[in-house]
Symmetry: C2
Subunit: 432 residues, 2 copies
């Protein structure tokens, strides 16, 4: 290992054998953390070339189980989002593209820090379970064209261990490490093609399109080398997506979106991501035809029906989905009022995400308990004109002590100015 | 700690408070190895400035006990060598400058890998002990002007832990880390001034004077910031120093040198280092006068007598020193004969050091046992003309199985060519 650290330190290229040695040894606990930490810092400074990045992805992917979806007919297309605040696209997209005939085999994660997790959101529906065996998972997809389950520990253990180490050693921000982390997990889940929603903006890891493009190209390149087609949609995370942040609140908004009554930004993003999924699945020849198909499925009620079918198949109470007033809602609420008159020019997604965590909707640590009914509903977003004391957002919590700290975050989230700023596009770039 | 890793990764300067936090936390086991490893690799790429290097040295120095030599009269001058093969200068210099009236409070280390340690060499003298309390150490110096003892674990524990980590994470080769490691240990030993013998060449860490100069300047700068005068002698380690490599063999050669019968290179280096020690101790005004003084002490027998006094004071058998035939000598010997006729143009010190380890004279690991009588005696060195089959060296071992591997190292050590190469100077540069 020392030799490999020195090689990377000098900027040399490592071989597949080298990466096998490092990853296998690290996962087996034979190579100590401190050597891997030094290696990662050398990677930060010297980088990996495209070939090495693809090799590392492949080696990480093979560090655990590989999901075999070959028993499911059709081209399996997955969607991945790099994470954002109020991002409930998976809840909308899954049923939507499943209704269009694309098999959706979705393995999701839980929330940590300021971003929520699809599994937590789904579990705010009474009795819904995301635990199932591999066989049950496949059978549900065969029967309903969709299933959503948790990633278990046997999936890419190398990434779990490596990410935990990167997180505490200042080696998160290298695009080869980011790309191999994302791609190894997605590829291990067995999809034939993937649409990646790469978030850019204040609430995301990447701040600009310029920063995001090399990562997008690298993921597409990894896909090419591993024979998987990838489309990257670079979308804005300058402010939260939609109007809700918090588990049950987001489920409600996702249902409304599937019914054609959702907020414009969330609806638009789901339609764009979904239509590219249809293109990759070869269900439609062009993105435009995909958009038409998806809109029709929303209008006909087929998309919402697919969501109900999913909930039922996973044991959830369908009544809750039919009447969203039955979803959990926190006991207390507090309105956050505008401190000034003017145009909202910034609405920092990260701050809103942190407010939501403080309200009980998220996890500060991996073992924190979630209040499903807690969170934030935004009344006003960027571009809106507001008067002083006009409600900007409503906060929900099961404990009134949570409001003080959450309100502080909300205060730093909103910026109100005399002059409006030119609107920023939601979809910033498509790379394929 | 994560913030400090990120700061150094971005090339920022860290404060004294930061280094206190890192070193104290690391020594206490509160900051994990993997974070320190990542930090060290960031230091490798971004460096420390002079101020940071001096702070790190000071903080490391204070991580354990500080030796207080104030009870000893006079200016205490220490010597440090960066390590070489056949380097027995400490054995010669200690008694030599002590005889000149400079108090010598020498704390030495044991050998590891291809370089030997002063303590191991001394212990080849029957009954000699290098273990003593601090009080005994001071009392011996007050009585005899010299004592040589081991560094115990309470001396700069930060360096011990940090060096062990650097060694396995590819972060040894940063001059700030090297300088702070050397200087923290020397300064903790309480000397007022230090002569540093910085080795350069095939058998040393630094290969050229150009490489060595920045390290020399950095150590002088650290000394200046901590109010200690430093002189750096850059000397050649292209080939072993003197003719012997191995513990008792080196003691014998050191005694001969103290008697004025030692090899020229070893004698010359000891005289140069020693005369600068006399200058720093303000015993003589110039190096030239120092040289005269030391030569006189050798000629009069005072230097050798001081060595006997040291041996006696530390419990060793003086008879062994008076008749070096009583020193341990390995049971078996084997002559390494020249494979060709010509001039010896290279005699790789590292290879000879490794041969000596294989013969039983060194430690492959920290717990290896040493054969005091094993080692190598060189009959021929660089510049000598040899005939085919003429003896180049004699190898000594207590186990005949050791010769095969040792002979392989000896074969790679010697290079014999038709043409001689111009001789290289032993003393390459003095920096103060």
């Amino acid at each position: 290992m020392l030799e490999l650290i020195k090689k990377k330190k000098s900027g040399d290229t490592l071989s597949r054998e080298d990466y096998n040695y490092i990853i296998d040894g690290f996962v087996a606990g034979e190579i100590p953390d401190y050597q891997v930490a030094a290696f990662l810092m050398a990677v930060y400074f010297k980088g990996l070339n495209d070939e090495e990045t693809a090799i590392l992805t492949d080696v990480m992917m093979r560090s655990g189980d590989l999901i075999n979806l070959s028993a499911i007919k059709g081209i399996k297309v997955d969607k991945h989002s790099t994470g954002g605040v109020g991002d409930k696209t998976s809840l909308v997209l899954g049923p939507l593209v499943a209704a269009a005939g694309v098999p959706v085999a979705k393995m999701s994660g839980r929330g940590l820090g300021h971003t929520g997790g699809t599994l937590d959101k789904l579990e705010s529906i009474k009795n819904l379970s995301v635990s199932m065996t591999r066989t049950e998972f496949i059978e549900k997809i065969q029967a309903h064209n969709i299933a959503i389950c948790g990633q278990n520990a046997t999936l890419v253990p190398a990434d779990k261990k490596l990410y935990a180490l990167r997180d505490v050693t200042g080696t998160v921000d290298n695009i080869s490490l980011i790309a191999s982390s994302i791609m190894s997990k997605k590829l291990a889940c067995g999809a034939d093609a993937i649409v990646i929603d790469l978030k850019v903006g204040e609430g995301a890891y990447m701040k600009t399109v310029t920063e995001a493009e090399p990562l997008a190209n690298m993921m597409i390149d990894i896909g090419k080398k591993m024979n998987r087609e990838i489309i990257v949609v670079i979308s804005a995370m300058h402010q939260p997506l939609g109007l809700t942040v918090g588990n049950a609140l987001e489920v409600k908004e996702a249902i409304e979106t599937l019914q054609g009554k959702g907020p414009k930004d969330l609806t638009d993003l789901c339609l764009v991501l979904g239509s590219y999924m249809l293109v990759l699945a070869k269900v439609v020849p062009t993105k435009e035809e995909g958009l038409e198909r998806l809109k029709a499925l929303i209008d006909s009620g087929a998309a919402f029906n697919k969501f109900k079918e999913l909930v039922k198949a996973q044991g959830g109470e369908v009544a809750v989905v039919e009447d969203t007033n039955l979803l959990p809602l926190a006991q207390f609420q507090q309105v956050y009022k505008s401190p000034a008159e003017g145009y909202i020019t910034h609405l920092n997604a990260l701050e809103v995400g942190l407010a939501s965590v403080k309200l009980g909707a998220g996890r500060a640590t991996q073992t924190s308990k979630i209040d499903y009914g807690a969170g934030v509903v935004l009344q006003k977003k960027i571009g809106d004109y507001v008067k002083k004391n006009e409600p900007l957002a409503t906060l929900y919590a099961d404990n009134q002590d949570h409001f003080t700290k959450a309100l502080e975050y909300m205060e730093s989230a909103y910026t109100i100015n005399k002059e409006a700023e030119p609107p920023k596009p939601l979809i910033m770039k498509i790379i394929r």
